[in-house]
Symmetry: D2
């Protein structure tokens, strides 16, 4: 089975291989220039901060459906231990085991491959058990700070959340952009709200996972046209699931990560941000969302914060 | 063995229990108001970003000296796996096991206790294996964004790094403050550079760990007087090690975390920041250093970024 | 809430504290003398070996109901890695994270406490995050080899499996003993088959967990009278669940582990053994079931083998 | 670089591919017949049991030299937790993270490959991150019980331990066999004592690891001639290290695991067994050494016990 012609057509149109040189490992993050950061900072008015990460706990969004992608297991190795003798200052220490893609996270570029290739045309075989991703591992993106724009598609459509299976289209994005009152520009990080997170927050992990609203295979071209630096949303699957085209699984992942070299974020909690943006009637802000620098990591938990 | 009178004297002077109410769980982070954030943002001039985290890898700063505090173990659970069938988009997934205090990290307030108490007078026994820290767990600090000030003590003293065993005093801090050309204010996050990280970066983990320069037991009063929100530095031990007063182990930890309710950061790599601040001749910046929200965590890896 | 008088009455009758000295850490394992082992060996007729462990995998018996008790997560750190250069012999290495009580396992004596005590009257507080169990950790039982006797209660009652909630009584044990055609003796390890494992093997983890047949609170006295060395069965809960006496949770655990100092095994797959014993018409065998010697472990995965 | 002709010559002479059918996954374990087990049981005289596993702890034999092969990290997730309410029976639960080849262990057959092949000619690529070893994973050996024979080479040579770099030859094995007073037969499991474990037990992990005595590349032919079922010894490297032939790394691993399909064990503590065998003047016994059945595992911790 090969990927269909339709996929390859889009791939050709959005492909960024070589755009920042043959050695490039960070793709569209190159678009976040110092000037973009200065503009991002200029969006801050009140100093209000809104966290976008789900709490890291064993009762997280993973259901066991994806083998190996385990919710955080938090364990103790010291509890009030008087390591220097009785009556001294006591220490507590903890450890965690977790899937790097399990919680609120960024996908690194080599998280997916197709046709044997990752971003910039490198062989998929450069991802190994020995060192993880030799190229474009998450540690190659040591800072992610830019202007964030919330495209609140659910609000723009007048619903609390999009139905499971709803494919978010470029038209949806533009309606939300109009609501936002700002134009998405080069280097921006776009946060697309579907409202699906409300299902998880209400306690139903299975329904959160599947079926899910998410990005249509038509949106990568829109992001490419706007030269967006990264995209995140409030779903487990990121793209609409089940997929729009039969037997074409994860096309948006492949287009973003492999073809465009654009990081994408999943399981971001955009509910409080939606409320805050609605209250303040502005949808652009400073976004701090730096990955944990796991060497060779094909993903990372992240604790993003919007500063309004 | 009890803690000496000298410790209790200082503790009384810096104690913040009840200052933000009996229910407070975040201590000096209360000092980071919206106004402080606006001032922090106003420090940004160029948009230059400097990452402060060490790469997360098995060859990290831990030597095995501290039981259970393990360097990150990065493992693979999927490598280019065509989960939906041959020829489809392929996925790579990874997991990590690590000590929450092992790498560049924040100590949460309940990381240490003394005399059976953690911050705000709560019983130390509220830290359990079952849920970690019931109060003041790291997830209670969902955003850490403020003005950062680099106090480059090594540079102020004209050395690459302070000697192992050098206790950084209030006088050292003030000399570095003068070099910085800004006054440390309420809500600031202070980064104290000793240069000790150069030892680790040069490949000697043992010498990095011990003996180490670090904060003197006299500095908490200085941070308290300035109403600092948090302090981080570039050492494993944070405070001078071996300690200044015989048999008084970890007094600065106890004063900051238990008495003041002030988070502290360790193993921050301040070398590039020192270079950047030296070049730009300014030592204040926007600091984004939000914890990963591990529920009940007594610490967290963090990937701080300074925006100049 | 205190434990009811009924519990304390039984506890007094089965208590073994001090029986093997104040320093003893292994309880009823003391009953496995060299002579018992020679008798165990003498039971072997055919040399047929029957494994009793479930495969260790992420899809194990745990459902997430018990916080922290995670199924085995198997990950790779090397795959056909030519660590000494191209063309050399290549290595594959793996790691695991798992709960020590998650799979086919032994409970070590300090796995439970009541009234602040573990076996032999030691304080429950001797179990810490720092080192696990200071006393009676699973490493203190470096070999478990004895005569095993299958008490096939399901077969003796003429059913494939006992109903969920069925409490296995001393009368059940004696009926199965009669079927077995051998008398349970001092130092024997008794395997009690309920047939509940068939539910898990048929794919229903939830129904396997709860409600479950299991040992009645009346059975510890029977095991005590016979001076059994250890008991294992084919359920998650070991004892009948929900419990027989309202609000008296885990009484059999407390009687076996704390009062008697007798290890107990859970999630043992006794289906093939039942078939083999039925075919050979004998229910006694050599049992090899040595714990993995985790220092301070309050439990351990085990791969028991019956040699018929 | 290719493997030298000398290696391929030996490989051809010891190769067992197809010997037990094209579908076979357990190799020389096929030699452990019911009759062999009956003979093994017949070796038991006193019932004395000798454990051969090192304690599983963070301070284990691994030094960090082998990436990803981590010593056991033991953590707590419950400590005396009264999960059913105050005053009820309290539970302690623990978890572990460890390398499957880190401690006293068996190498499964697919632990190494050469020339793209594992045992029985299967592609090395059948080992994946997704499921580990598709063929000959350690779970395919659900019981390992046989006659064990201690070949105490150190004692036969009149030394406490062989020098680092000493290659144990077939002549060494035969001298030890003569000392043992028994002939190694088909289906036996041979334990080769070098005494190197004494270095670790004396506290020097670095010297234990390297240089190490171990099996010569000439010994696989001897084991093949005797139709041994498995071999274990008391070193980290198993074979002599550094190797006998320049740039021929791990030839014994490749011959045993890939060509012969014979499991091998490392880091077995044979010191107490040596003492016991010396006292009883017999070196054959019943050996129980069943792997933990990790699905897809290329190795497993094991807690072997010799019954004399």
């Amino acid at each position: 089975m090969a990927l269909p012609a339709e996929f390859h057509d889009i791939a050709e149109r959005v492909n960024n291989w070589g755009r920042w040189g043959a050695d490039d490992e960070i793709g569209t993050l190159n678009l976040v220039t110092d000037e973009v950061v200065r503009r991002a900072v200029a969006e801050v008015r009140t100093g209000r901060r809104v966290p976008l990460a789900l709490p890291l706990r064993e009762d997280g969004v993973q259901t066991g459906m994806i083998p190996g992608r385990v919710n955080p297991l938090h364990t103790m190795v010291q509890i009030n231990q008087e390591i220097f003798g009785p009556g001294t200052v006591a220490c507590s220490d903890d450890t965690v085991t977790m899937g790097l893609q399990a919680a609120t996270h960024w996908d690194a570029l080599p998280h997916v491959s197709h046709s044997g290739r990752i971003y910039n045309g490198r062989p998929a075989a450069t991802v190994t058990a020995h060192g993880g991703a030799e190229f474009s591992g998450i540690e190659k993106a040591p800072y992610v700070v830019s202007r964030g724009v919330l495209l609140d598609v659910a609000r723009a459509r007048g619903v609390d959340r999009l139905e499971g299976g709803h494919a978010v289209t470029p038209e949806d994005l533009e309606a939300a952009e109009e609501l936002a009152g700002t134009r998405v520009r080069a280097g921006d990080i776009v946060l697309v709200r579907t409202g699906q997170m409300r299902v998880y927050l209400a306690g139903d992990r299975q329904a959160y996972a599947h079926p899910s609203p998410g990005l249509s295979v038509r949106t990568p071209e829109w992001f490419h046209a706007r030269d967006v630096a990264a995209v995140a949303n409030d779903t487990l699957t990121f793209e609409v699931f089940p997929p729009e085209i039969e037997d074409l699984w994860l096309p948006v992942h492949a287009l973003h990560l492999v073809e465009m070299g654009m990081m994408q974020g999943q399981n971001w909690n955009l509910e409080k941000l939606s409320t805050a943006c609605g209250q303040e009637k502005r949808y652009a802000f400073l976004l701090c969302a730096t990955p944990e620098p796991f060497v060779g990591g094909t993903g990372t938990p992240v604790a993003p914060v919007a500063v309004l």
